[in-house]
């Protein structure tokens, strides 16, 4: 079937079997191999992309279901030589070892920081009323859909925490 996807601002037409997931469409048909296939069952988070600005598992969405949505992959954040702040912090904080889970971690963290800015509570939030303070405990809970088999979690949390501060300040400045 003919499927049109909007990925990183570009419109792409494809002829796909209805069974093709968004993840396989990105990797095998559009050659955007930043999004990784780990478990293919939504448990590891390596395939995380943004769909209309919210993080989702690309392995649990059919490409046909994603038609009409704005998809952002790790290729849409920054490029070698012009990394975005979160990517820079992952490098600075040793937020990875083998790197396989990293694109998913970064896309998930991007979505998670937006959720926190929007005041969404988490399972570990003491109060549902907010505002959200991204402590290590909050970051760990909110990132539990992303596994790192190298267990680089302390570096991942630090990288996200560093960006949480800057994004909170940016949001405050924008509000003022």
């Amino acid at each position: 079937m003919q499927i049109t996807l909007t990925v990183n601002g570009e419109t792409r037409d494809m002829d796909l079997d209805p069974r093709v997931t968004l993840l396989d469409a990105l990797r095998d048909h559009l050659r955007l191999t930043g999004s990784k296939k780990g478990c293919d069952h939504g448990q590891c988070g390596a395939c995380t992309v943004l769909m209309d600005g919210r993080r989702v598992n690309a392995c649990l969405v059919l490409a046909a279901m994603a038609e009409g949505a704005e998809i952002t992959t790790v290729e849409g954040l920054g490029r070698p030589g012009s990394l975005n702040p979160l990517q820079q912090e992952f490098v600075a904080c040793d937020g990875f070892q083998c790197g396989y889970c990293t694109p998913g971690q970064i896309m998930s963290a991007t979505g998670m920081l937006a959720e926190a800015r929007d005041g969404w509570p988490s399972h570990v939030s003491e109060s549902l009323a907010g505002p959200v303070a991204l402590t290590d405990g909050e970051i760990a809970e909110r990132m539990s859909g992303n596994l790192c088999r190298c267990a680089a979690y302390p570096g991942i949390r630090q990288a996200i925490s560093n960006c949480a501060g800057t994004s909170a300040e940016a949001a405050k400045e924008a509000a003022e």
């Binding site: 069974r19 939504g42 993080r55 969405v61 046909a64 509570p121 399972h123 859909g145």
Partner: protein, 340 residues
């Protein structure tokens, strides 16, 4: 996955007609696509209702909230009205799945998700729910995640939803539309069936019926609500046991007391007799213990899940202490505010 035809429904009429004709509906897809990859589900026609208009809003009604079938778990848990007036619903949803899954999973899809019993999810294994009459290897097998209440000789699979436990507690009703366009309301307790001798029949929905919304009635301000989930790891895991509760205290007595349970039942579990025992009484450890015994009176256990009897009893008592003020509130226990 087995081959299928994909159709994107433009409206509810089209979806209802397709469902009556045997098509499988997909919305978020977080459970169904997983089952299709495992070939536990193999629909011939998949009808995507994710873009059907009119199913994606949370509206205030005179009785409470009408939550559209396509409202995502994330949107529902974060809704300011829900956080104030029905905090137990936010807490239950936030205790389930991951951020990514909650962003796709929908309200009606969550209610209709399938059990995570390992034998149901393995097409190479017998399973009375998947293939009626083939047997139940969970009995005498790996049964850590299975149910102890509402089970039968044929099936001990647990209902996996956290959200449905909170909605059962809140006396929510499903708004159900038949293919002909008629609408009926059904309390969640009547939506789900216990397995009996037909474990493949999980709900009382008729062919072509679609859950279009869930109605959640108001809870009096000043009551205390709690959701406590016990699981094998701190996050992104199904419940071993969970307890949802609401208590409103008046002059030292529980003027209202309701409880619902997850991880232990073949459907989201509610015990009206336990609620009746607690209501109107002064809280005490003896009374809490008596209520726990009542809930667990019908429990049937396997070697692998017998631990759930003392675990549910202790968790229930801990929740009741927080709901009645006998212990300080921990995260997950919230005072109900008027949401407006």
């Amino acid at each position: 996955m087995k081959p299928f035809e994909y159709i994107r429904a433009e409206g509810i009429d089209e979806a209802g007609t397709a469902a009556a004709g045997g098509a499988t509906l997909i919305a978020g897809g977080t459970n169904l696509l997983d089952l299709m990859k495992l070939q536990v589900a193999a629909p011939g026609t998949l009808v995507d209702i994710g873009h059907v208009p009119g199913l994606g809003d949370i509206e205030e009604t005179a009785e409470g909230l009408r939550i559209g079938a396509l409202v995502t778990n994330s949107a529902l848990a974060a809704d300011p009205r829900v956080r104030k007036g029905w905090p137990v619903l936010s807490r239950a949803i936030l205790s389930g799945a991951s951020g990514q899954i909650r962003n796709r999973a929908t309200t009606a899809g969550n209610l209709l998700q399938r059990t995570r019993c390992p034998y149901f999810q393995d097409p190479a294994s017998p399973c009375n729910k998947r293939e009626p009459g083939s047997g139940c290897p969970a009995k005498g097998g790996v049964s850590r995640m299975t149910a102890i209440l509402g089970t039968s000789e044929n099936c001990i699979a647990a209902h996996p939803s956290d959200m449905a436990v909170a909605m059962t507690l809140l006396e929510a009703e499903a708004e159900i539309r038949a293919a002909a366009g008629t609408v009926r309301h059904l309390p969640l307790g009547d939506l789900y069936r216990v397995p009996g001798d037909q474990p493949d029949e999980e709900t009382t929905l008729q062919p072509g019926e679609i859950i279009t919304a869930v109605h959640v009635p108001h809870v009096p301000a000043g009551s205390v609500q709690a959701y406590r989930k016990v699981r094998d790891r701190a996050s992104y895991a199904f419940a071993l046991v969970s307890v949802a509760g609401i208590v409103r205290m008046e002059e030292g007595r529980m003027a209202e007391a309701r409880l619902a349970f997850g991880g232990v039942g073949t459907k989201p579990w509610h015990d009206a007799e336990a609620d009746a025992l607690l209501t109107g009484r002064r809280p005490s450890e003896a009374l809490f213990g008596e209520a726990a015994q009542l809930v667990l009176a019908g429990a049937r256990t396997e070697e692998g899940n017998a631990f759930k009897v003392p675990l549910l009893s202790r968790t229930m008592k801990a929740v009741l202490r927080e709901l009645t003020g006998a212990a300080p509130a921990s995260p997950g226990t919230d005072r109900t505010e008027a949401y407006a």
